[in-house]
């Protein structure tokens, strides 16, 4: 029997804000335990929530990037349960009125574009972080209250590869939009996957399992692939798939049972009485839409249509937003788009990789790189010299200064070169004779002497050209 795989994904994404969703406590990562909190984050008696404007803006950006319908009337609800990482004993979320719904994104799988629908995007707050020793659990409330959006897809994906492409596309988009730093390994983007299979042609859903907290895109695919084969085996052996929560085990590359789902938990959702509905200003929403950062797809199109880059180059650039941002800065100062992409993608990345530096630590000034590229094109430095210059430019130096300091400036003044040519020809009578006799090799030797005389600074092309003209005159 052939089976069809059905996958839906829930993604929790920490928003890039200074303060928390419902308190002015600082958002942080890696600080001392319980040092980035205030009374609200600790759920102290008598505290009330206050909504973070930037968090709302970032949620709106996510909605806009994913073509969601936006509800300008914000409403919040309480999700009630007891746990040590949940300070208030309830989480403030948007159960009944998500900020965005009915969106979609497009993914590319095997050169085909597929639309994946989003059910909803809603805002909520994160829980505290717990560390487990052999005997106890240690709670750090720094993360408690951090703004989150939850992005819920429709069950539109049909393979692990599609799921991975979906997560990749969303991750890239949210990063470009400045919504989140999307670090899956640090937990700022967390992925829960629902997987079920059904006989091909069936339109009812099979029983699904949920795989929690997948910390990389490749694990998303691996976990799904394993889970699908596990479910197939069960069904083919006449067994049934149980509704359960599983986790991906890195070591064995399998999914492991966490808990069975016995009926659904009743979270007793009800409207949060302490937050009146907030009506967002239409003009504000419009201005966010207007100033929405460029999406990767838009950028790719620009690279190919306007800059004439290849599909491969364009894709390589946008896959790394920092690199792409850098490239965009470079091409503000040069119109050598192709050359600039090579220097950015190949040379710059090679240096950073070699020195094991991240892009955040990059000190190369885009304007400098652009200048260097322009100098090459204008013939002020040779491509060979450029390599030497680049070694300094990458350290943050101005190429003009480098050239000056190293005395590398290419000699491109025809009058100066003519003087050199004349000087060389005057002292090489034999070479002129050889040339006249058809020995082309003589030219090479003459050029070599001109270069030597100019200490390598003469523009070889120009020197060659003037030399030929002068030889003919002799």
């Amino acid at each position: 029997m052939n089976f069809e795989t059905v996958i839906g994904i829930e993604i929790h994404c920490e928003l890039k804000t200074h303060t928390k969703m419902f308190s002015a406590g600082p958002s942080s990562f890696g600080e001392k335990p319980n040092s980035c909190v205030n009374e609200i984050d600790l759920g102290m008696p008598g505290c009330l929530p206050s909504l973070n404007r930037h968090a709302v803006e970032l949620a709106l950006r996510a909605c806009m990037g994913t073509h969601c319908e936006i509800d300008p009337l914000l409403k919040f609800d309480r999700k009630n349960y007891y746990y040590s990482d949940l300070p208030k004993g309830f989480q403030i979320t948007q159960q009944f009125h998500p900020i965005g719904k009915n969106g979609y994104i497009e993914i590319q799988v095997e050169n085909e574009t597929k639309k994946i629908r989003l059910n909803r995007i809603h805002m909520e707050e994160d829980t505290a972080k717990q560390f487990h020793t052999s005997t106890c659990s240690m709670i750090d409330f720094n993360r408690a209250g951090t703004p989150l959006i939850e992005i819920v897809s429709e069950p539109d994906m049909r393979s692990g590869a599609e799921a991975a492409a979906y997560v990749e596309e969303l991750k890239n988009m949210l990063f470009y939009l400045g919504v989140s730093d999307c670090k899956m390994e640090e937990g700022s983007m967390r992925c829960d996957v629902n997987v079920s299979i059904r006989p091909e042609g069936s339109d009812t859903f099979g029983t699904k399992t949920e795989i929690k907290n997948l910390n990389s895109i490749s694990n998303v695919q691996k976990a799904i692939d394993y889970e699908v084969s596990r479910q197939k085996e069960l069904l083919l052996n006449g067994q049934s798939v149980d509704q359960e929560t599983r986790r991906f085990d890195e070591a064995t590359k399998t999914t492991v049972l966490m808990r069975k789902k016995e009926g659904s938990v009743d979270y007793k959702f009800f409207p949060e009485p302490n937050i009146f509905p907030v009506l967002l200003d239409r003009a504000w929403i419009d201005s966010i839409q207007k100033n929405l950062p460029e999406l990767p797809a838009q950028r790719k199109e620009k690279y190919m249509e306007q800059y004439g880059l290849s599909e491969y180059d364009a894709s390589t650039l946008i896959a790394n937003k920092e690199l792409s941002d850098f490239y965009d800065e470079v091409v503000k100062h040069t119109s050598e788009y192709k050359l600039a992409s090579n220097w950015c993608m190949v040379e710059l990345m090679a240096v950073l990789n070699k020195e094991n530096r991240s892009f955040e630590e990059n000190v190369c000034v885009p304007e400098h790189l652009a200048e260097m590229i322009n100098m090459i094109v204008k013939g002020e430095i040779s491509s060979k010299q450029a390599k030497t210059v680049f070694e300094e430019v990458v350290k943050g130096k101005d190429p003009k200064k480098v050239v000056e300091e190293k005395g590398m400036k290419q000699l491109s003044d025809p009058n100066e070169i003519l003087k050199l040519v004349t000087q060389v020809l005057d002292s090489n009578e034999q070479a002129i004779v050889d040339f006249k006799n058809g020995k082309d090799r003589a030219v090479g030797a003459l050029v070599g002497q001109i270069m030597k005389l100019s200490k390598g600074q003469a523009n070889p092309k120009l020197a060659n050209q003037i030399l030929m003209e002068e030889l003919k005159k002799r």
């Binding site: 303060t19 002015a24 973070n52 404007r53 040590s84 907030v278 009506l279």
Partner: protein, 97 residues
Amino acid sequence: MEKFSKEMWKKLANQVMFDLSDQECEELSQEFEIYLKQLDLLNKINTENVEEMVYPFDNPTSYIRDDEHVDVISQEDAMKNVPFKNENYVIVPKVVK
């Protein structure tokens, strides 16, 4: 609506993280009878097309806090009331999620 056994009350209580004694369950059963009778009063009121009143006033606000101002307390204050702590962590018996 259903009538509740002692066990049912205890289960309900445990869901909101406390116990009830047998006597408390007994009292609750009696009070619940009255509760149900009072619900009949509620059901006499026609609420067709009436929206739930969640807040005393319905006009929405437009205030949202700016993300700039940070309001933090000291680690010492944060830990001051914690009954069981170690190295500035709040400690509970090991929880397995």
